[in-house]
Amino acid sequence: MLFSSVIFLFYFLPLVLGLYYILRFSITAKNMLLLIASLFFYAWGEPWFVLIMLASICFNYIFALLVDKFRERRNAANITITLMLVVNLGMLFVFKYMAFALRIVNENTGFGLTIPNIALPLGISFFTFHGISYVIDVYRGHGAVQKNLFYVALYISFFPQLIAGPILRYNTIADQMVNRKESWDKFSLGCCRFIVGLGKKVLLSNSMAIVADHIFSMGGTSDIPASLAWLGAIAYTLQIYFDFSGYSDMAIGLALMFGFKFEENFRYPYISRSITEFWRRWHISLGTWFKEYVYFPLGGSRVTNKDKMIRNLLIVWGLTGVWHGAEWTFVVWGLINFAFIALEKISNFDKGTRYNPLRHLYAMFIVVIGWVIFRSPDLLQAGNYLGNMFGLYGNGFWSDTTWMFLKEYALFFVLGILFCMPIATRMNKLMVDGARFSKPLELVYPLTIIVLFLVCVSYLVKGTYNPFIYFNF
């Protein structure tokens, strides 16, 4: 089930919200409802794969009990952690990477191994990371072991974050599962956040997806002029941001409606002035996860030898790339991020505070090039597309198609670029600070948000293009 669907908005959500607030008298009853609702939410799209998620919940529950039990016996605890990683990552490997690995083996050895056609369970990368996070947090003593399987199941399967994150660390949510308090203010914030996220996804991301998908389908195999290639790259840059951040907004908003507080996942990454800063603002929960569970355990940046820091960065960014998908494009994209972050760290580039538009241009240039590689189905097509962007194949600069896409999607490009910047945050601040226009803006706000919701509904009911970018993650 998708948040941006009629069944979620007008069947699932009102029903779950209604029952949740009816059961307000008991936290256990509310949690049970959320667990049942979450399993139903997952099973609606993947009736078979819900068993895989349940298996993941069960074995991570057992591993955490074992780790807790072996706390004083270091070797046993280490063996348990290793086993936990083997099982979790093994499962991820089988479903997500095995076909890719066999393909590499075949290409390099000529063995001709049969490549199985295994469907990717929705959200497997997310619930696997949740499971790992839980067991390691218990191991580190960052949260008490959960004796009740039910709470582990709720943590891993909680529907707002189940399919596309944000990735929650167990220690940030353990207490909330038993001690949260709902309030009308939290609920109100959640509603607004959810609608804004829905608008980002349905209106901005999906519209940009039309432009990006058409141009990328032309650009990888045939010749397109530079302007069209750039337009496609920019459209995808906007699509992926509004898709991801819109989904995170919806997840954070939904969680708030149920009294949970999730951490922010995006902080206007496209205003960054370095790649390091970009990654502090983009998909923060993923960055934090890798920092907490990979980078710091390797020694992080506080190592005596800079070579080791570079090695640590290389490992983290190699893994970040592969986490996003089983294709060389993701590896290369991860390595490009690594290269620029490493360079910035070595040269202290990121420490500069003076505003310089060139720094912003540099960061966005690398980000856009990175997204082109990320979006392309393989490296050959990524190369073709990049070649088209820089006019390497002599396809000229301008075309009617560029003009057509610009004209047809002008409003979405303008709004997309504007809302990449913290305009909404500033307007909110303006209202709170009681400036001259605060009163009229305050009146307009509820109307604007409700109209935005109805506009989104009209797009959904119409059945407009609604691609799901998370299938491969």
Binding site: F10, P14, L15, W44, C191, M218, V457, V461, K462
Partner: protein, 403 residues
Amino acid sequence: MHNFFAKKRITAFLFILVLVTFSVLNIIQSFGPIQKTLASADYNYAEAKALIHELDDDINEHVFDKFGFVEAYGYMQSLMWKNEENNFEVVKDMEGKLHYTYFATGPTDTKDLSDRVAALGAHLDPKTKLTYVMTPDKYVRGYTQFPEGIPYNYNNETADGFLANLKQDGIDTVDLREGLLESGIPAKDLFFTTDHHWKIKTAFWAFGQLVNHLDGMYDKPLDPDHYFTNLTNYNVVPYQDIFIGSQGRKAGKYFAGDDDFDLIYPKFKTDYSFYFKTGETEATLNGRFEDALLTTYPLNVQGATYDLTADKYFTYLYGNQGIVHVVNKDKPNGLKVLFIKDSLAVPMISFLSTVVSEIYLIDPRYYTGDIMDFASKTDLDHVFVSISPQDLVDEFFPYRSKD
């Protein structure tokens, strides 16, 4: 800070109000279809995904005031001066007519399809003649213009290649795209604005062209006095602003506008038998042209503007049926013909029925028998294949040589 929460609270209140109201209305609207799906479901775990899909479809198809939302969507598209909507589902040409199109770099290779038509010809009784009737594409060459950059699907060029292949194989062809702009019908009135079909007057003109072509092929002309092909011998009943065609239903009338519809039927006396069968549904009607071959239900239906049953184009021959048999009782010794056709040909065939003895129609999408066997085993003088340029795809040519 108080103000900050006040506006959020009001918004949340409104949101809940909209959510609950719309949810209740939706549940009422889709309750019947959901109940029906659940009652007929195969409760087997292996079928779970299929059942979920069906329920999803029920819910999406039966949204409360669905076309109100489609209209709102279309209105927003028109406010943005857009010429395409919903990922190029339909596009507008320079005069506002809607088109189906897609991004293409050149015509599609249709050699396999033309070979199938040739195989059909080879399979027919030697006395039975075969003609391919190419109906025009809504993108009329020399007239239609797309706004800068709107993709063109090369349907006409694909049709050119297809006809060239047929001619190479020695198959008789009629290209109704030729002479279209000299037909006397204003170019803007050749096709509906909101539908992919030609207007009924254009279909009538095409009937005349077809009769002219056939008159050269048989000893006895079909319409020697040009009586049946003369529009003045027909009633033309205009219906103003009544029709929202298949393309209009996708985008809504605020984006697309609406169409007039002309109902054309003979003034002269006629006597027909009309039989159709689609799936398990079959029926026979007898009487005058307007009683047997026309249904006025789509013209009279109230309050279902967007419903498929209100599609005015299906006034003729009850739309697309698996197989149809029309007998003109006033012409017992005329030609017996078979049309393997798509929807565009339907009104043209209705008018052709005035000058022939019997017409069979087969729609390859809905006919479950073997078309080649039917064509070879039925006593026929002429077989027509009439598939429009946009339908030159496998689905419409489900027959091939058994070799």
